[in-house]
Symmetry: C2
Subunit: 166 residues, 2 copies
Amino acid sequence: MKNNKKKIIFKKRTSVKQIEEGSEFCPKFNDLKLLPCITVEEKSNEILMFSYVNKEALKKTLETKKAHYFSRSRNLLWFKGETSGMYHYVKKILIDDDQDCLIFEVALSKPKKGGNPASCHVGYKSCFYRKVVKSKDGEVVLRFIEKKKSFDPEKVYKGITNPTRI
Amino acid sequence: MKNNKKKIIFKKRTSVKQIEEGSEFCPKFNDLKLLPCITVEEKSNEILMFSYVNKEALKKTLETKKAHYFSRSRNLLWFKGETSGMYHYVKKILIDDDQDCLIFEVALSKPKKGGNPASCHVGYKSCFYRKVVKSKDGEVVLRFIEKKKSFDPEKVYKGITNPTRI
């Protein structure tokens, strides 16, 4: 067990070969010190949300196996599920060719105030609950693909400011 | 057919309700005028890559049903497949709750210089060909999950600068 507590080190990026073809973990954080992260439900392969991690969030995720993100709207470390009970239990992490994007494959849990396992603060399972289509008159519009909410956001996030910004 | 040529309009963002619960298409481009985009293979649900679109790329994608992105490394509109033959035929587009991220669900094609249908410039089907794991001695390292390349990148991208930046 001692080994699992080894300090997590992000290696220095030295060559395209190291980054693309190697086994060294050398993620590239952007100018805002963030790394994009796609969250997928492991069992269904469904994409649940898109967000960012900073170094601290990524380290905490690797250490605890529960997803931590960086909330840009609140400008702080965001332990997913802390408020709602809807944790992201991380089963697998993938990284892309140039190591500037992550995938967290997760299992979901139910909101503590009732409802089905879900992820999105609006009440749907996934944040991607609408598709972009052309309407009959040729206008580009959105159509709901999740027909029913998994939980009542008014109950689960009572008193919490909505993170969506206009 | 006339209707399909209607000008694509991105609606003005006016309220959280409109953005989250509505059917108006009002994507939010970031400070660099880009919108993150996750590309998924429609038939397998496998995530292929993560990139960005600008307004022009998104409009061209909606018009042609072939994915166009914005290449940050080359700072230009990127018609995926133009060089390699590995087009992304867009079957479905999804958008997230606050309309600041897209998913393109696509079908792949083979590189014109030979190989199997794929997407990643390194030669793998997906850009996410490695997982992040702890090694026996507790170090965080990468392990390949795609064992074999789908095509030879030296052949397919001969003379083209590698987009990966150190």
